[in-house]
Symmetry: C2
Subunit: 372 residues, 2 copies
């Protein structure tokens, strides 16, 4: 993997970069749509490509449970299974074990848990997490980490972070042993909202050495200003020549604010999940498509939007589809929201290139203030 920093903004920490992966080039800052179970809900691979999705995130946890790592490996890995030939990133499954499984028991060795589907018991250790993700074959894979609830005391956060760092070392060892061709293991910085712990975590990871550094344990319920502060304080300790990935973030405003704090990569279910719930993003805020006000509204979701939905369909039709529970409601809403997110990232990249990212940031902040 090669990462180039193509340019930097002078007034913020924003960077314009390029990631070279086995399945293609990723222009950063980048947003990765989430394809939990080997599909972005409601989207065909062709639709994702036509939306210029550069890289997808898939969840190891879900794929391990169903259809299982051996099945996917035999069908050509995730790329062959899904017929997605652009880059993929898989998470370790740790977060889903903590948020979805019925029962779990964490020890120094790893985590034992019961499937949320049928109660079957599984064990995930740093080593088996690597085996799983090497079988899936994503371009970027993540180490198993200990996921902490928010808020956490400094003591609990320290203990959890140190366990995650020990697991990161074991993941790195196992990964080097397996030495998969064309895969890359990132490190994940933990330490909750405590700057000293974040710094310690970053230093420990850098000592092990990774081609990219993720920031985990944020967007777990803390106010977003806290998240921005953590990111801002951590950023100087992250290597400049490696990509930084903020996991599970966030709103369109979060993306802009965190790019300003040096983040290169994001993933979040927000555009796709909100789409299915009829919550549609626009540059002037969001609209809830079920509202009666849209019953005969023949305008598009967002009059300035160039997406395939806004250039064709009315709010009235989209409201009808939503109220009728039609599959096409999820499809069209997802196309629009993903377009909105990807278009936002495209603008961010352009503004950084033109050395005017601070203007874009100011615009977004002004809109935010006007709305609130």
């Amino acid at each position: 993997m090669k990462f180039e920093v193509l340019g930097k903004d002078s007034r913020t920490r924003a960077r314009r970069g390029r990631l070279h992966l086995a399945h293609g080039i990723v222009e950063t800052p980048v947003f990765m749509p989430v394809g939990t179970q080997g599909t972005v809900k409601g989207m065909t691979p062709e639709q994702l490509q036509s939306l210029s999705v550069q890289i997808l995130l898939c969840n190891s946890y879900h794929l391990m449970l169903r259809p299982g790592q051996d099945t996917i490996a035999r069908l050509g890995g995730l790329h062959g299974f899904m017929k997605w030939d652009r880059p993929i990133l898989t998470d370790s499954g740790g977060y889903q074990v903590f948020s979805l499984s019925k029962f779990r028991k964490v020890s120094e060795n790893g985590v034992m848990f019961q499937s949320h589907l049928d109660g079957t018991t599984y064990t995930l250790t740093p080593e088996t997490s690597m085996d799983l993700q090497v079988a899936l074959g994503a371009d970027i894979i993540m180490p198993l980490d200990d996921c902490l609830a928010y808020p956490a005391s400094p003591e609990a956060a320290a203990q959890s972070m140190r366990r995650s760092m020990e697991w990161a070392r074991r993941c790195s060892d196992r990964f080097r042993e397996l030495a998969p061709i064309s895969q890359n293991l990132f490190g994940i910085v933990q330490g909750s909202v405590y700057p000293e712990l974040r710094k310690e975590s970053a230093e420990r990871l850098i000592e092990i050495g990774f081609p990219g550094y993720a920031v985990g344990g944020l967007a777990v319920g803390e106010p977003n200003t806290v998240m921005y502060d953590v990111m801002e304080q951590l950023e100087p300790y992250l290597p400049e020549d490696k990509p930084r990935y903020l996991m599970g973030v966030g709103t369109p405003e979060d993306l802009v604010e965190c790019v300003a704090r040096g983040v290169d990569m994001f993933d979040c279910v927000m555009p796709t999940r909100h789409a299915r719930n009829g919550w549609l993003f626009t540059r002037e805020g969001h609209i809830a498509i079920k509202q009666a006000a849209y019953k005969e509204d023949d305008r598009p979701i967002d009059e300035g939007c160039g997406c395939p939905v806004c250039t064709k369909h009315s709010r009235a039709y989209l409201r009808h589809l939503f109220m009728a529970g039609e599959i096409l409601s999820s499809i069209l809403n997802t196309v629009h929201n993903l377009y909105f997110y990807l278009d936002t990232m495209d603008r961010i990249r352009q503004f950084i290139e033109f050395r005017r990212f601070d203007e874009f940031l100011a615009q977004v902040r002004n809109r935010q203030i006007r709305r609130s």
Copy 2:
């Protein structure tokens, strides 16, 4: 509306025709996918176009209840509302009143019923059915008819048929009064499985005069050989120069058998509904994609199929999507099944053109025998 009979098969009653409608030309025999609530479930208008769908059927009953005829009329009629610029046919809603509504009361005047959605009371008469369908603006509309359960006694069938014929006359009168530009009202032959009643019904309709004749009250539970016989006995009484539409039919074999008996138009929820239930059509019969046998099957649904799903995805992936309850399962399965139906119609048209339809019919019958 103009209908041309381009050619006839010499050994069967199959015809190759062309229907000129306000929104485009329809090559017959044709299969019309069902877009119940103003969308073919799981399909974008672009996907339907790329599958070469020529004409869609929409259900007046559903659209009357939600979003309502005035809303659709204000948004440019069904074509403007759905953004579908090819022909549309709407049914009268009669069938859904009989099959879906919670409560109904039929009189000579029409039918009063309660919405299956919220219990609101509606009345549909021949006249209001025309008002509704003129507001929706489909290229072809259907008269309100009295829908009979199967089996029915000759007396009950005669009474119901005569009521439907009286309603057809009232629909025709109302339609002439409204005189909508670019819409066409078909007649519907009723009479259950009784040849004399079918003949009487056809004669009464011809007396009123319609640009096309539908056959209703079939595919309601009778054996398909009975349906074929009714169609065969009725066919000589239908005008040769007008299109014939067999409502709600059917399996791929039914289409071929009924084309051989002079039918030009079909509609059915089977390809789309079965798709969502994981039942996929192939030339060698069907497959139920949930079967464990497909867990690691990397073959396409149908090895001879040229559809966008078969040229890309494996049974294993489709099974996974189905088991995981993913929206993409419904989407891909629907693309395949619709392609299968439309491709079957395409072959039928070609075989009629080449004056070799009887060979195709024999092929289909042989396969049917082999499978049973």
